[in-house]
Symmetry: C3
Subunit: 487 residues, 3 copies
C-alpha cells in the first residue's frame, strides 16, 4: 500500500476513521526509478522560483479589498466551474452548489454546498481538480483529512476558522504564494480602479496587471453587441457609431490599459480566423450590421475583421495578442437561461489553425513588434499545426496546455507532441487561467512537476543532459513567460 | 529471453519444434517494477468478478440451441471480421476463409481455412486479435503450441476433438466464463424466441437479454427502407405507412423488447446528429420520402428525425440509448457485392459530437429518465468533446473504447485522455462488442489488466491511493456498467 | 548527472570549457531497466543491417560528381529546412542562413551561417534535428564538442579540414554508411543523366535509383502548369496539348524511369482525393482548363483526375504509388517571394483518407499489380483511418511517420496507434526523406532504436516474445521496405 495520498471511501460506505490527506512529495513524478531521481532534482531546482501568472481570472477586487474568504464553499466550490460541472454530471443541481437560479430554486447555504462537494469527492479521483484541491487543502489551508460525507461538517468548521486568520487574507497569501506578477482579465470599459488602487498603495509591493479582453465589443453576432458599443463609447468618450469610431475607441482603451500596466490582450472566439478588409469595406459592413441589414455571415465577417483590427493594433502598440479560441460556449441553453455563463458547459470543438491564422501571419508573422500566443482546446493541432507554425514564425508563441488540457497527462502529451518540432523555446510557459486565487500555487506546482518529469524522461533516454534539462526547466518558468507575455 | 509468450517463426521458416503457447500471468501489466507489483494486486482483486456484457453480437440461438461448435475455423476465423480483414490484407481471398462468394468461387473447407489462418499467424503479432485468440486457445481450449503452418493440421484435429466435449457447449461455457448477463443485438422485428426459450427453461439460470437495434427502420436513405417498414408493420401489427404509424410501431416493439428483458437500444449511424422537427413537418417529410419525392438531404433529415424520436422514446420508457456512430460501412463495394456486409471494410471517419449532440442534450441532457452512452471510433474526440460533455451532462455516459480502439494501448490512451476531465465514474465500463462467444472472457480480462495497469501508474505517481484505485477498478467492472446500461 | 549527452549552455552564458559531445550508446532506448536490456539486444541485432532508402531528396549529382562538401554550413544548415525554420523562428533571417534573397539582402558567408547556427544550438534541445546532427557530427565528422557561440569558429575550421579528407567524399560515405539502395526524387522531364552515369561507371557498385515525381504536371491549378506541359512535351517528344497526349507523355516518362531503375512514383497534393472521369469528360475538362475557361473547381478536378490516371498507370506498369499529401505549401507568401519554396513554412493540415481514397481503392485496392504507400502529416488518421484501411486492402501499405512525425516520440505514437489494428507487416518500414546525405545513417539509426524500444516494451509486457520481436524488427528493416517499394 502506497504511503502517499490515501483513500477516500465512497460516500455511501461506512468510514471508521477518516482517511488522511497527505500529498506525497514525489507526486506526479515518473515512477521509473531512473527517471524519478532525475525528476526530483530537476523539480527541486525550480520548486521555489517566483510565480509568474500572465493569464488568469482572479478578480482584482479580491486583492484591492483584501477581505477574508468567508467559507470553503465560496473558496473552493461555487466559483470553480471545473468542480461544479462534475458535481452537476453526478446529479447535483447548480443551485445546490451555490449558484443563483433565475427560475427561483432556493440557493443552498454554504455548509450544504460543502457537504455536497465532500460527499462526491471520490468522483474526482483521477481529475486535475482533485489534485489541485488536495494541494490547496493541505498546503494552504492545513487540512489533514480527506473530504467525505463523514468529515464534511468538521472540515467546514475547521476551514471557516482557518479562513478568518490574518495570514489567510488575499494579500498575505499573495506574498506567501511567492507571486511576482498576476495578470487579471478585464473588460475594456473597466475603469481599472482596483489595479490603480493597488498601484497607488504604498503598503502593497505586488504587481497586479490588467489584460484587455474585448470579446463582447468584437462579437457582432451577439444581440448584446449594440449595448456593448454604447458602454464602450461611454468609457472612452468616443462615438462608437461608426467603424472608425469603434476602432478609435478600442485603441484608446488599449492605451489606457497599457498605461495601467497591461502587457497583453486576450481573445476568445469560436475560431481563430481573422479578416483584413479594406477600411471602406469594413465601414460599410459595420453600418449594415448595426442597422440589422446584414446576413448572419456579414456579422461573422465583421467579428473577424474586428479581431484582425486588434492584430493590426498589436503590431503598433506592442500588446501581446493571446488567442483562446475553439470553445462552444453555453452548450446547454436551459442551464444558461437559469444560471448564466461560465457554468461548466463550454465544450471544445475541432479547430483549424493552418488556414485560419494565415491572413494574420502573412501580415504580422515576421513583424518585429507583433507577438501572438496561440492556445487551443484541440490537442490534435499540437503536432499537426501549432508546433510547425511556432517553429517558423518568430511572432508566434505556442500557448501552454489550456483549460481541459492543463492536467498532468495532457501536459505530457503536449510536450511529446510539440517539442520534437518546435523545441521548448517556442512555447509560452505555464498559464494557470484560474478563477480560484488559492489554486494558483497548486497549478504552477503541477506544471513544474510534470515538466520536470518530462525532462527527466528525456535525460534518462539520453536525449539531453541533466544540465541542459535544468536550464530548460528554468527557462519554462522564468524567461519564456516573460518573453511570451512581455512581462 | 522472456519466459512468457514465445515465438512464432514466420510461415516460410523451418520450424524444428513448435513454439509453445503460454500466455504470461503478468501480460499487459506495466513493466515498471513499482507499477507492476501494484498492478498485480489490483488485477487480482477483480480478476474473478462476474462478467457483465451489456453490448455484443453473440447470436442468442447459440445458447438456446446449445449445439457444439463444429470446428476451429467456424469458431475463431470465419465469423470474426477482425481476423478475416487482416488475412485479406495479406492476400487471402475471403472465400478461402469460409465466406460464401456470390461470384461463385468455391468456399474453402474448414481445415483449409484453419491452415490459412495458422500460416499467417505471425502477421497478427502486436494486434489485439492475437492476444484474445492466444487467451482463448490457451485458457478455454487447452492449446499449448502456437499456430503455424507446421502445427495447423495437428491443432485442427485437437480442436475438433476438444469442441466435441460436453464442457465446450455454449451453456457450459457461459457458466465457466462466469457470465452474469449477456446482451445480444436484435432486430426490432425479431420475435425474440431464443430469449424467451431461455427465460422459460428451468434448467437455465443465465441471463441473456435482447437489445433493440432499429438502424434499418431509421435509415430512410437506404433502398431497403420500404421493405424494412413492411417487415416492421408485420411484426408489430401496426401500419407503418405514415410517420405516426412508424413511431407507434417502434414504440410497440420497444415495449416488447423491454418486456423480454431489454434495458437498452443500440444505434449505428454515419454521425450522431439528430433532428427534432415538429410532428406535422416530420409527417410531411416522411410522406415525401416514401413517395420518392424528397431530395437525398430529405432522406438524411428524416433519418436524423427518427433517431431523435428514439431519444424522445428513451426519455419516456427508460431504455438506455447506446450510440455507435462514425463508421463508413462497406467501404469496398466489390467486396460488399461478393461477400455481403461485416466483412472487414467498415472504416472509421472523423466524427463531430459537440454540435451534433447538442439538440439531443438540450432536450434530454438533464432529463431524469433519459440516459445515453456515447461511443466513438475517433479517439480525437475523447479529450476534446466526449469527456467535457460527459463531465457536465448527467444523462450522458462516455462509452468505453470500441472496435478498433478496444485494444490495450488504445484503452490506455482513452483513460489518459478522459480521466483528468471526467474522472472514472462518467464512463461506461468495458463492453466486449464481440461476435465470438469464446472471446468474451479474454476481452474482459484484457480490459481488467489494462485498467489495473493504468490505475497502478496513477498509484505509483501518487495521484491516488491503492485503496481508492481498487475501489475504482471494482466500480469499472461492477457498478458502472450496471448504471450505464441499467442492467 | 547523466553520463551521456552533455550540456549546452545558452548562447549568452559564459562557457569556461566547451561541453563535450558524446551521444550515449543507449540513447532513445527506454529507461525502464527491464525494457532497456531487451531493447539493447534487439537494437544490436539490426544496428548493422544495410540501409534501404526508398524515399528521399538527395541530389544524384552529389554521388555522380563525388565532389567534397565545401563547409559545415553547406552540409548541415543552409539546405536543411528543418534547421533553418527553427532558426528563423528565433529571429534569424533566412539570408543570414545562406539562402539567396530576391530582395537583395546580402547572403551571409558560410562561417557566419555556422556561427548563427551554433549560437542557437540550445534552441534545438529536444528536437529530432538536434539528435540527428549530434550523431552526424560525432559519428560521421568526428566532432567531440557541442556547438556553441564559443566553439563555432574552431568547429568551423575543424570541419572544413575534415570535409577535405578523401573518406568524406560522397561515394566513400555511401560505402561507409552501408547503403544498399538510395532512391532520389526526380522530375519526369529529367534526363536522369546522373543515374545513368552511375549505372555505367564500373568503379561504382552502389544502387541509386530515380523516383518519378510528376506533381507539377498534374497540378492544373498552378500558373506554372502550361509551361510544365511544354517541358514534358520536349522531354518526351509527345505533344501534351491534349489530355490523351499528356497521358501518353506521362506513360512514356514512367517507362523511361522504370528502364533506369525506378520502382516508385511519388505524389504530393493538398489532399489524397482522386477522380476517375470517363476519358471524353477528362479530355473536355483538360481543354477548358488549358484555355483558361474552367472555374477553379475545374482545375482542381483535373488535378485529381490526373492523379487518378497515375493510379491507373501504376496498376499497369507496377510502379509503386507513394502518396505524400496534406501539406499547405509556402504558407508565408512574403517568404516564398523572397526565398522560394522549401524554406520551412510548409504547414500540415487536417487530412481525410477514408472517403478520399475510396475511389482509388474501389478500383485498385485488391488489384494484383497495383500498390500504394500512403503517408500522412495528420497523426489523428493513424488509428482512425489508415490502419483500418491498410488492415483490409492488400494493395495499400501504411507509410512510416513522415516529416514532422519522423521523430522518436512521434514514431512511438505511430506504432502505438497502428499496430493493434494493422500489425507490423502492413507498414512500409522507415523512409528518411532527407535532403541531407550525411543525415541518412542517423535517421535510420533513430528509427531502429525507437522500434527496438517499442518492441522491447511489448516484450516486457509479454505481448510478444523476444524472438518474435527480433524477427519483426528485422522485417521492418529488410523485407518490408523491399516489399512496400518493390526494391
Amino acid at each position: 500500500m502506497d504511503g502517499g495520498t490515501t483513500s477516500t471511501a465512497p460516500a455511501d460506505a461506512p468510514n471508521a476513521s477518516p482517511a488522511p490527506l497527505s500529498p506525497h512529495p514525489d507526486r506526479l513524478l515518473p515512477s521509473d526509478p531512473a527517471q524519478r531521481a532525475i525528476a526530483r532534482r530537476l523539480y527541486e531546482s525550480v520548486r521555489d522560483l517566483p510565480l509568474l501568472s500572465p493569464h488568469g481570472h482572479v478578480d482584482p477586487a479580491t486583492l484591492a479589498a483584501d477581505d477574508p474568504f468567508p467559507d470553503p464553499a465560496a473558496l473552493l466550490v461555487t466559483p470553480d466551474h471545473y468542480v461544479t460541472r462534475l458535481l452537476h454530471a453526478h446529479g447535483v443541481p447548480l443551485h445546490e452548489l451555490g449558484l443563483p437560479d433565475r427560475d427561483g430554486a432556493p440557493v443552498a447555504p454554504p455548509r450544504e454546498v460543502w457537504r455536497a462537494f465532500c460527499s462526491h469527492w471520490h468522483h474526482f479521483l483521477g481529475t486535475a481538480s482533485r489534485q489541485w484541491i488536495e494541494s490547496e487543502l493541505h498546503d494552504v489551508l492545513g487540512v489533514r483529512v480527506q473530504p467525505s460525507a463523514a468529515t464534511a461538517d468538521a472540515l467546514y468548521d475547521e476551514l471557516v476558522a482557518k479562513l478568518a486568520e490574518p495570514g489567510m487574507r488575499p494579500r498575505a497569501l499573495y506574498e506567501s504564494f511567492n507571486l511576482e506578477v498576476l495578470a487579471t482579465t478585464d473588460d475594456p470599459a473597466d475603469d481599472l480602479r482596483h489595479h490603480r488602487a493597488l498601484a497607488a498603495d504604498p503598503s502593497w509591493s505586488g504587481r497586479v496587471i490588467p489584460t484587455f479582453r474585448p470579446d463582447r465589443y468584437l462579437d457582432a453576432t451577439s444581440s448584446d453587441w449594440p449595448a456593448a458599443l454604447d458602454r464602450l463609447a461611454e468609457a472612452s468618450g468616443i462615438d462608437t457609431g461608426s467603424y472608425q469610431g469603434l476602432v478609435r475607441a478600442l485603441e484608446a482603451r488599449r492605451d489606457f490599459f497599457r498605461e495601467n500596466g497591461a502587457t497583453a490582450t486576450d481573445h476568445s472566439a469560436p475560431d481563430p480566423e481573422m479578416a483584413f478588409l479594406p477600411e471602406a469595406d469594413a465601414a460599410r459592413l459595420f453600418d449594415a450590421v448595426r442597422k440589422g441589414e446584414a446576413a448572419p455571415e456579414g456579422a461573422r465577417l465583421l467579428s473577424r475583421q474586428l479581431l484582425g483590427e486588434n492584430a493590426r493594433m498589436a503590431a503598433e502598440d506592442g500588446l501581446v495578442m493571446a488567442l483562446h479560441t475553439g470553445s462552444c460556449r453555453n452548450h446547454h441553453t436551459p442551464t444558461f437561461a437559469r444560471y448564466g455563463p461560465d457554468t461548466g458547459h463550454d465544450i471544445p470543438t475541432s479547430t483549424e489553425f493552418t488556414r485560419a491564422l494565415r491572413p494574420m501571419l502573412e501580415r504580422f508573422g515576421t513583424h518585429p513588434r507583433f507577438q501572438a500566443v496561440v492556445f487551443t482546446l484541440d490537442e490534435t493541432t499540437f503536432s499537426r499545426e501549432l508546433a510547425p507554425l511556432a517553429g517558423f514564425y518568430p511572432a508566434m508563441y505556442l500557448g501552454a496546455p489550456w483549460w481541459f488540457l492543463d492536467a498532468p497527462r495532457a501536459m505530457r502529451r503536449f510536450r511529446d507532441a510539440v517539442t520534437e518540432t518546435a523545441g521548448f523555446h517556442r512555447t509560452s510557459g505555464f498559464i494557470d487561467d484560474t478563477r480560484g486565487f488559492c489554486s494558483i500555487p497548486a497549478r504552477h506546482d503541477t506544471a513544474r512537476r510534470v515538466d520536470a518529469g518530462h525532462l527527466a524522461g528525456l535525460v534518462a533516454e539520453h536525449v539531453l543532459s541533466e544540465e541542459d534539462a535544468a536550464q530548460v526547466l528554468r527557462d519554462l518558468n522564468d524567461s519564456l513567460p516573460r518573453k511570451a507575455f512581455r512581462l
